[in-house]
Amino acid sequence: MLRETAIGAYQIFLIILLAPLLTGIIKKTKAFFQTRKGPNVFQPYFDLYKYLQKESVVSEHTSWIFRVTPLIYFSSMLVVTAIVPVVATHSLLAFTADLILIIYLFALARFFLALAGLDAGSAFGGMGSSREMAVAAIAEPAFMLPLFTMAVAAGTTNLTGIVQSVVTGGEGVLTLAHLMSFMALFVVAVAETGRIPVDNPDTHLELTMIHEGMLLEYSGRDLALLSLGVSIKQVLIFTLLANIFFPWGIATVFSIGALLTGTLVFILKLLIIGIVMAVVETSFAKTRLFKVPDLLLGSFLIGLLGLVSKFVFRG
Amino acid sequence: MPLILLALPLVIASLSLMFTNRKVLGAISIVGSATIVLTALSIARQVFAGSRVVWGQFIFIDALSALILSLVAIIGFMVTLYSLGYLAHDLKEGEFSEDRLKWYYFWLNIFVFTMFLVLVSANLGIMWVAVEGTTLATALLVGFYNKKNSLEAAWKYIIICTVGIIFALFGTILLHYAAVSVTGESGSLDWQTLRRVAEQLDPKLLKLAFIFALVGYGTKVGLAPMHTWLPDAHSQAPSPISAMLSGVLLNCAFYSIIRFHLVVSESLGFRFSSNLILLFGVLSIVVALPFILVQRDIKRLLAYSSIEHMGIIAVAVGLGSKLALYGAFLHMINHALTKSSLFFIVGNISQHYRTKRIIRIKGLFKTMPIMGPALMVGGLAVAGAPPFNIFMSEFIILSSGFAQGRYLVSSLIAILITLIFTGVIYALSKMVLGIPPSRVKLGEHGNFAVVVVLISLVPVVVLGVYIPGFIHDILQQVTSVFIGGSQ
């Protein structure tokens, strides 16, 4: 019991720690491909520190929703962190949570963030909220379907159960269904983490921004919380991608060695996904907002093909 | 006893002619019709206690006659009560002159007399005479207002009904012809005798006779497509007369068809006549539907609803099982009570608003806090919604239809009733809801009329949740009239 708690705490710690770094790495990689020098990979940490030192300015029009949103957003991410298996198949809350809950905890965070976007009354925030909710809505089925395929294969929606079933080479590992589901989820991850071609995380231009629009009114420590939260969400989604589909290397037993291997492999997987994501971002142009559904529909169809092939081709 | 019953309305009629004063006439007719009710009910009690009332060769009362007899008496009484207030208002408005009032009461009582005669006569010939008598007695009542529309209605009424009824006479003659050879001259039109010897009668002639009788009396019942006079007459007559026409006259005419049906089915088997009746029943409901859906005149709407309900009764009689007959006569009771009460209500309303056009009557809930809800109650009842009485009988009829496995007919009727419901509700909601026109003054239309309406609504509600034991018994006896003959 104590050991499991310790591992859980370690995983949470690891993710919080790594989150800004991953953001930094992706930015650096993007800069590399754009033949820029780019910021330091540790720049996100400096930013966070900077935000924390600044005064928070809150609009006079806002209500308490605006104030509590950073807290709710951040703690939702923390809870998800406690659920997802990172370096070991077990996590702090795995016994009482599953992937549906994770997705709906993301929804909780998004719900409040979108409300906060509307709260100040500026058109930018409203635009951000509106687009975020629309994109998230159509991303949701595409997000769920690949996960369902894996859950059905494993016979449970419990993440630990799914991961274990894949690790032990359960039904339908590394099959067409498996790979297609991965591809589908990867596309959704682009949308969920707010990256090109769906969103541009680096812009504050009203026509193009989705996610940043909602953060526009935030400053100081609130902004720090939200930025860190967003980074954590990104890591979490990458972790889901990595550990559900390619969990090999993850610690299935509680030994220091296994954990160390697990940690290293995990960081490696994150790096790979991060770099691939950066490559994708630089090789595509941002699409129009109303073209996004086509992209996500494509992802959904890939996921559907995965599901169908699981049953039709028995693999 | 039956002679007294027949004599009473004649006496009142002749008394009425001697006075012109409104109050005196009212008093005479109220006392008179109260006596009639008592007499009729005591006869009915005697019949339902098990002994048939027979007087001589020409009078015979069984449970079926007694049931309708009581309805005629009771509704006649209510109509007399209601007439007081209604006519007083019309007089005040100058719709007609006071010296014509005595004719109203004269014809009303003659009308009651002829209906009684229909019901008590043991002889199909006399029955025919009496049915034709009802037409003659009411023709001038329908045209009582002497306005263009009412005269037109009266004219159509008397012509169409007389033509129809002539066919019924021809049917009667054919039956007579068929019977003479078997029974001899004297008993040849006595329907009891006929029923007994029915099997020896020439089936071909019986068929012909029934067709003529059905078309003939069917005209009087208002079965489509012979119903055309009905909406005109019922909408143009003074409201109490409409109540009487819709409430009981149709039932009396239906009674004549049943008598023929009983005789004919003894010989030709049950199917022939009952299928014809069923056919006309369904047709009537079908024909009533579009007219109700796009109706503009509330009294015409009620008239078409009467056609519909006669159709339902016809369907039930046509179905012919014990349960169906039970439902049919329960429906007859329910329809009589509800429709007469509705005509009272609409009478009040149309006097108050001075129009019968649905579109010009608005906001009744506001203007007439009792008549508005009363109209709603009556309307819902007549449309077949619970907790009102007609729902109960319609449910019984439908369930008996299903129980016999006649899914198509029963489902069709269920759907038709539903559609008619929407038409009725549409009209009602137009009238009771909304903001009243400013020309109409607020408040009820005389306390007396309100009381009469409320009394008349009591059975509508009570019978919707509870069928008292005595009514149950009566209906059992009436249905056994159908079965009794075949044994």
Binding site: L52, Q53, E55, V57, V58, S59, I65, V79, L93, F95, T96, A107, L108, R110, A114, L115, L118, G121, G126, R131, M133, A134, A137, I138, E140, P141, L145, V152, A154, G155, T156, T157, N158, G170, E217, R221, P293, V308, F311 | W155, I159, F167, I211, L214, V215, V287, L289, P290, F291, L293, L380, P387, M392, F395, G401, Y407, S410, A414, I425, I435
Partner: protein
């Protein structure tokens, strides 16, 4: 105990009737009438709240026989677990709504007859309770019709408005047509079994031919579907709910629609028994379509009550999805898996009653203060009406199925049921259908969240958009208490779902012969633990909303402490919203129309939006003085399913009425023709 229960039942029905009567009689003293009317309703609901759970927990049934019979059907109320469950649901919601109504009904004093409201309100609850307690089809129809009529009168309560009258008419017509189907189905049952009695059907329907069963099933699906508001029979719903007073809409949406679900469950599970697989598939697909289209149309609405009404369509869809899955599993003989679906459906019945009731009451409270239902005229209400806003927020989160509130738990169960379809041995088609419909449910949930971000954000946040909103004030205490109760229940059922599920156990036991025990893991009341796929899975799936809530609150608290320690500034500075340097006015805010635009465009195939822009110029084309924007979406179902048919019928009726042309010769001709035809064919 039975005597006591009988007494409770009598008190419940009696006090409703008494309340109706007294409130009507006291109509000239409106304040007293309100007090008396709703107090009796409250009394009844309290007794119902005692009676329902008591019966469920003691696993007893209650029979009350009336002393007379009609149509050969014994008049008998019998409260089996299913009835007791629905009585509990009705009582829970009606209690809160009745408390709310003390304050809310005062708005009508001097405008409408309050006595009539009390009369029909009490009768409405009465008819619903009597309906679910009915022991035979005759009584069921009887109270069903009364319920429809009474609710019709409640819908047209504000009948001076012609739109209200129209809505009421459409409502009564639709519901009555639905009733016709139900009546036909019931009479068919009667014919085939010779009984009206629900209790007897179970043994009698075994020998029924499959065709008859199918016909009955289709008829009741149409009949109850009309009342429940499945697409495309839903058109009355978004019209009638806004027309009714808000407390009535709360009950209509919260529980009246559920009586249709009750009837459907009663007939399919209790009476017809195991059916072919396609029954379940049909219900499942109807559910999914209703859920999706319901929420999509909701997104396009700016009238808060219409919006909520469309969400009722959505949630009925979700309930039907659960029931559909249960039917599929029963057909395959997997009763333990059917349990998940049925529990999900029934639990969602309860949850939807609670949160939709709350939302309608919230809408009512807002209407009470602002006198508008158009959310574009609201804004900034959270500051004017902090409690109403708070409760509405809870309702919004619940209906969006976001943890840790109750909507999430039942949707989670629905997901589990759908996924169980994927992993059980049902054949490829079912295996694929389950997860795909799961994805559809995900889309529904996400769209609902978007819709309620819109609703809450536009109504309660930012700056008031009109003078009406500016002048809004918090509503009276009774109204807050009514909403507060429901909000509390949203949380309780959300974090302690076991409480509700335990109460459901006897219901499912009586319907499919399985108790809810398999739902419970080893963690007792903390967990909802369905077991997926009959031992296929590696581990049991379980969630504990309570633990999650605890962790959530704890981490928020810790983060708060930490951030206070780390950051230099304890307090935030208050300043203007950044608006490119111009002072913010309410005209610059994002509106509900613009908020929903991305979705309107993404799903343009469904909405077929049209827009029209009118400009007035000062100096063409450079200076515009005024721009008018008209936007609308195509009311697809009305245009396709209803309007043409209605037009056709009315046209036909108009044509037919020419038969009565007034010509006496023609009339005589009819008789002549009839006679000749009869002589030829019958003579």
């Amino acid at each position: 105990m039975p005597v006591f229960n009988e007494l409770l039942f009598t008190v419940m029905l009696g006090s409703l009737l008494l309340g109706a009567l007294l409130s009507f009689l006291l109509q000239n003293k409106p304040r007293l009438s309100i007090l008396v009317g709703f107090s009796f309703a409250n009394l009844a609901c309290l007794t119902g709240l005692v009676l329902g759970p008591t019966l469920l927990l003691s696993k007893r049934s209650l029979d009350i026989i009336l002393p007379w019979s009609v149509v050969g059907a014994n008049l008998q109320f019998s409260l089996d677990p299913l009835a007791a469950f629905f009585i509990s649901v009705i009582s829970v919601l009606s209690l809160s709504v009745s408390i709310f109504s003390y304050g809310y009904a005062r708005a009508y004093i001097g405008k409408q007859n309050v006595g009539v409201l009390g009369l029909f309100y009490n009768l409405f609850i009465f008819s619903m309770i009597a309906l679910v307690s009915s022991s035979n089809t005759f009584m069921f129809i009887f109270f069903w019709e009364i319920m429809s009529l009474v609710s019709y009168f409640l819908v047209v309560y504000e009948h001076h408005d012609s739109r209200v009258r129209r809505a009421g008419f459409i409502y009564i017509v639709m519901t009555h047509i639905g009733t016709a189907f139900i009546i036909i189905a019931f009479l068919l049952l009667y014919k085939e079994t010779g009984s009206y009695n629900f209790a007897q059907y179970a043994s009698l329907t075994h020998d029924l031919s499959p065709n008859v069963k199918t016909v009955i099933f289709i008829l009741i699906t149409l009949g109850f579907g009309t009342k429940a508001g499945i697409v495309p029979l839903h058109i009355w719903l978004p019209k009638a709910h806004p027309a009714a007073p808000s407390n009535v809409s709360a009950i209509m949406s919260g529980v009246m629609l559920k009586t249709a679900i009750y009837g459907f469950i009663r007939i399919t599970f209790d009476v017809l028994g195991v059916g072919p697989i396609w029954w379940g598939v049909l219900i499942l697909i109807i559910g999914a379509v209703s859920a999706l289209l319901g929420v999509m149309y909701a997104l396009m609405e700016h009238d808060i009550k219409r919006l909520l009404a469309y969400h009722s369509v959505e949630n009925i869809g979700i309930i039907l999805m659960g029931i559909g899955v249960a039917l599929i599993f029963i057909s395959y003989g997997y009763n333990d898996l059917a349990l998940i679906g049925l529990t999900a459906g029934l639990f969602h019945v309860l949850n939807h009653a609670v949160f939709k009731g709350l939302l309608f009451l919230g809408a009512g409270a807002v209407h009470y203060s602002t006198h508008t239902r158009n959310i574009e005229d609201m804004g900034g209400l959270l500051k004017k009406m902090p409690w109403t806003g708070f409760f509405f927020l809870i309702g919004s989160i619940s209906i969006s199925a976001i943890p840790p509130f109750n909507g999430f738990v039942s949707e989670w169960l629905t997901y589990q049921a759908l996924l169980a379809m994927g992993s059980a041995k049902l054949g490829v088609a079912m295996n694929i259908m389950g997860p795909v419909l799961g994805a559809a449910l995900a889309l529904t949930g996400a769209l609902a969240a978007a819709c309620f971000v819109k609703a809450f954000g536009i109504m309660f946040l930012a700056v008031p958009r009109s003078i009406k909103a500016e002048k809004a004030q918090e509503v009276p205490l009774t109204m807050l208490v009514g909403m507060g109760l429901l909000a509390l229940l949203c949380i309780i059922f959300g974090v302690m779902p076991y409480m509700a599920i335990q109460v459901l156990s006897p219901v499912t036991a009586s319907l499919i012969g399985m108790e809810t025990i398999p739902l419970l893991g080893g963690y007792r009341w903390l967990n909802v633990t369905p077991v997926m796929g009959q031992g296929v899975g590696v581990g049991a799936t379980s969630i504990s909303p309570l633990i999650i809530l605890f962790v959530l609150v704890l981490s928020a608290f810790l983060v708060y402490l930490l951030i206070n320690r780390v950051s230099k500034f304890r307090k935030a500075r208050i300043d203007e919203t950044w608006n490119c340097g111009i002072a913010l006015t309410s005209k610059m805010e994002y509106t509900a129309t613009s908020f929903s635009k991305p979705i309107r465009i993404m799903f343009r195939a469904i909405f077929q939006p049209t827009r029209e822009i009118e400009k007035e110029y000062v100096l063409k084309p450079y200076l515009t003085s005024r721009i008018k924007y008209y936007g609308s979406i195509k009311p697809f179902f009305e245009d396709i399913f209803y309007r043409p048919q209605l037009k056709f019928i009315l046209k036909l009726a108009d044509k037919v009425t020419l038969l009565q042309s007034g010509s006496i010769q023609l009339y005589l001709g009819y008789i002549f023709v009839t006679l000749v035809v009869l002589l030829i064919f019958a003579g």
